[in-house]
């Protein structure tokens, strides 16, 4: 079963008078539970592709189905809900909320969902923090955590809602190689434990071994799917 189906996806940016063709006709299908890496040099369109899949940027042309929903036709409120309920994000720069501590950062998406009681939310967040190995750092604010620890919090936050897909845009680019490997291992573990689809982008060929499959992208087009 495909969790993502992309057909002829094009994305243009207007940059002054010129148009940047960031994606020029992508066809891609990703299976549920997969761990996929999107590889390509800087400027090849990785972020743009992940943004479109992650419902934070809209396609110029083509069709994008996420969890069987055509997302190109949703309004802002619906697409925001889509992100909240079906997608988890891990950013290159971690992007934790600085005024919230680790636990609160992980609780945050669940609080937005307003589905569970405060207690349930706390339990679930604690469980995730535990799984990413930060049991001793519950009350630490992002500024008090190392880069690797921050990214672990971000992974817990991305997974806490039980999303269909977790998107990670160059999650290790801001980490040293040892920490980067730990993070990728964690993602691999979480992919196995939680049965969540993971898509991460990278421009570093060394990290490809963590992926089940690799999508190569160059100049807005898929070069080779392996």
């Amino acid at each position: 079963m495909n969790i993502i189906e992309i057909r002829n996806l094009k994305k243009n940016y207007a940059l002054g008078k010129t148009t940047v063709y960031a994606l020029r006709g992508i066809d891609l299908a990703i299976e549920k539970g997969d761990l996929i890496s999107i590889v390509g040099p800087s400027g090849s369109g990785k972020t743009t592709l992940l943004n479109v899949i992650g419902c934070i940027d809209n396609a110029t042309e083509g069709s994008v189905k996420v969890s069987d929903r055509e997302i190109t036709k949703l309004n802002d409120r619906q697409i925001t809900d889509m992100r909240l309920h079906h997608i988890g994000f891990i950013f290159q720069t971690f992007n934790l909320i600085p005024v919230l501590n680790a636990l609160e950062n992980v609780e945050f998406p669940l609080l937005l969902m307003k589905k569970q009681s405060k207690n349930e939310i706390r339990k679930r967040a604690e469980k995730l923090i535990d799984e990413v190995g930060l049991r001793d750092y519950l009350k630490h604010r992002p500024a008090e955590l190392s880069g690797g620890q921050r990214q672990r919090v971000a992974i817990a936050r991305a997974l806490v809602t039980n999303p269909d897909i977790v998107l990670a845009d160059e999650p290790t680019a801001n980490l040293d190689s040892v920490t980067g490997e730990q993070i990728l291992n964690l993602m691999k573990d979480m992919n196995r434990i939680e049965q969540t689809t993971f898509i991460f982008s990278t421009h570093d060929a060394n990290v490809l071994k963590y992926a089940n499959s690799v999508v190569k992208i160059r100049d807005g087009l898929i070069v080779k799917e392996a």
Binding site: N51, G54, I56, D57, L84, T93, N95, L100, P109, M113
Partner: protein, 590 residues
């Protein structure tokens, strides 16, 4: 929702310097606003409760007899009081306002004083008022109770300052020279029955008597009333309205004296009407009447006119130049009064004048009328009564003369000058509210309210500029954070609301702190003692101290207003922040 609150609150303390800067501005603005308002309100309290109600009443009815503003008397007091009761049923108290300039002579020293009547135990003086009296006067010797003591000869109360100026002590006898309501110069011995220290310098000028004492000294009869001051519950709301209503109720009826006219040996039931002798009224009378014969004097000086109808003249044989007398019964006095009249003209019956009617010039008429208030004969029981269609109706005088309501103190002064010039003989009745009688004093309150208003405007701009600037910087700094929370799934409205909450909280905290600061300032300022001396601004002080009267309602209003302005101002930048595209916001690096 409460986690939005938590985040907003924590964000607020994040940019501490910026928040403190804007917060301090709002705090000071609020403090000044609350302070200015409490001061204005305090002054207004002093003005309305201490000063205006003493110098003007909330609504006043004045009676000017003989064109002399110092001659404040009306002879049928019960009637006026009944009209007040009917028109202003909720009136708290009707004070007899007697204030007469006099020369007081103490022990080797003399000073100008104002003799003022008071009745602190009178009807309608409630506990609150008693408390106010207690606060307004600190008694050194005796108390106002002594003023009502009939065993003391003319008991009088003096302020410490006056007692010093007159060199008199408690229990001393002093003398006072004044003009009574009949225009006679009088002198009286007074006994100093109490000496006090007033909290307001304004109160140190008058010397106080019990109202019954000052009435007796000035020659008021038992049915006479001086100027009346109405004290009402809510003067700001009702004073004007009640004055208008009372004015409408005080329209005078036609003045009529029903009596018996004696000429030679005959006595005939007769009605005397008042012929007003100002030029407009005389012109009206001339166009309505056909004079058949007239004395030479009369054609020269109409002020002495006494006109009878031709039918009445034929029946009695009266001719111009004849003297007759009319006897009539008084309303309050069982004895009869007599007025002598010299007939000056005869007018054709039917045209304006009919039956046994004598038109008497206003000077003679009102002299008789006010000396002995005539018993009124029920209308329609025989005596002639002209109605409004009568050709000379407009030339006939009423029992008194009600002047139109004036709208400012200036108008009122003009009116009084006019009254003095016109030489009207009728008692001039004027109804005023404090807004006319004390408009100059009240202007001060408007000025203070203006200051408050300027404070609000200033604050408004502080908030406007401060909030917009602060938010612009904050939003720029947090662009990537906005992108993050949007990516995670926060709706636009929640992003917007979190900024609104943040701004609102800042404004609320600042406004509350500002209010506390204002209270501290009030506490401090009201402990300072000012020596006002003769400065008229001293009347704004209570006991030499500034007086603040903050009201919960105003403070709540200001706080809500400030938070409201801040939130409304924040709305537009906050909405712009919420509309940022998540993808763009995430790419934003600074």
């Amino acid at each position: 929702m409460d986690f939005l609150f938590t985040i907003s609150l924590r964000n607020l303390f994040r940019q501490r310097r910026r928040s403190i800067l804007l917060g301090t501005a709002i705090m000071f603005g609020t403090a000044i606003l609350v302070l200015a308002n409490a001061f204005a309100h305090g002054i207004s309290e002093v003005l309305f409760n201490e000063i205006v109600s003493y110098v003007a009443g909330h609504v006043s009815v004045s009676f000017t007899k003989g064109g002399n503003a110092n001659n404040q008397i009306f002879h049928d007091g019960d009637r006026i009081r009944a009209i007040i009761k009917e028109r202003v049923p909720s009136v708290k108290r009707v004070d007899e306002a007697i204030g007469v300039f006099a020369r007081a002579i103490g022990n080797g020293k003399a000073d100008n004083v104002v003799m003022v009547g008071m009745d602190p135990s009178g009807e309608g003086v409630d506990e609150k008022e008693m408390e106010k009296y207690a606060k307004a006067f600190t008694f050194i010797n005796g108390s106002f109770d002594n003023l009502g003591d009939s065993t003391i000869e003319n008991p009088v109360g003096l302020s410490v300052e006056k007692a010093k100026a007159l060199n008199v002590k408690y229990g001393d006898v002093m003398r006072v020279r004044y003009t009574d309501i009949h225009g006679q110069t009088q002198a009286a011995r007074l006994t100093v029955a109490t000496i006090y220290k007033p909290s307001n310098v304004f109160m140190s000028v008058p010397i106080f008597f019990h109202v019954k004492t000052v009435r007796r000294l000035l020659g008021y009869g038992p049915h006479d009333v001086p100027q009346l001051y109405l004290i009402i519950d809510n003067p700001k709301r009702d004073a004007k309205r009640f004055a208008d209503s009372l004015h409408a109720g005080l329209k005078p009826p036609l003045a009529v004296i029903d009596g018996d006219l004696s000429f030679r040996s005959e006595t005939i039931a007769t009605t005397l009407l008042c012929l007003r002798t100002d030029s407009a009224s005389l012109a009206c009378a001339d166009s309505g009447l056909r004079l058949i014969s007239q004395t030479a004097n009369d054609s020269a000086n109409r002020k002495k006119s006494v006109i009878v109808s031709s039918a009445f003249a034929a029946a009695t044989g009266m001719k111009p130049g004849d003297t007759c007398s009319v006897a009539f019964e008084g309303k309050f006095d069982s004895s009869r009064a007599t007025v002598r009249l010299i007939v000056t003209a005869i007018a054709d019956t039917g045209a304006g004048i009919d039956g046994n009617v004598v038109l008497v010039n206003e000077k003679d008429f009102y002299k008789a009328f006010y000396d002995t208030w005539p018993k009124s004969t029920a209308a329609g029981t025989g005596p002639f009564r002209p109605d409004t269609t009568n050709g000379i109706y407009k030339a006939l005088g009423g029992e008194w003369l009600l002047v139109p309501r004036s709208s400012t103190t200036k108008d009122m002064m003009k009116l009084y000058r006019e009254i003095a010039q016109k030489g009207w003989r009728a008692i001039v009745v004027d109804v005023g509210s404090m807004y006319e009688t004390a408009s100059m004093v009240l202007n001060l309150e408007y000025a203070l309210n203006l200051i408050t208003f300027i404070c609000v405007m200033l604050l408004f701009f502080i908030i406007l500029i401060g909030v917009i600037n602060t938010l612009r910087m904050t939003i720029r700094e947090r662009t990537r954070e906005i992108g993050t929370v949007r990516a995670i799934g926060m709706q636009r409205v929640d992003v917007r609301n979190s900024f609104l909450i943040e701004t609102g909280l800042l404004a609320l905290i600042s406004a509350v702190v500002g209010t506390i600061v204002a209270f501290a300032a009030m506490w401090g300022l009201s402990r300072l003692t000012f020596k006002a001396g003769e400065n008229p601004l001293g009347m704004l002080l209570v006991d030499g101290h500034l007086f603040f009267a903050p009201t919960a309602g105003a403070i709540v209003f200001f706080v809500v207003l400030i938070v409201g302005i801040a939130v409304v101002t924040a709305y537009f930048p906050a909405r712009r922040a919420a509309k940022l595209s998540a993808a763009d916001a995430l790419r934003h690096f600074e």
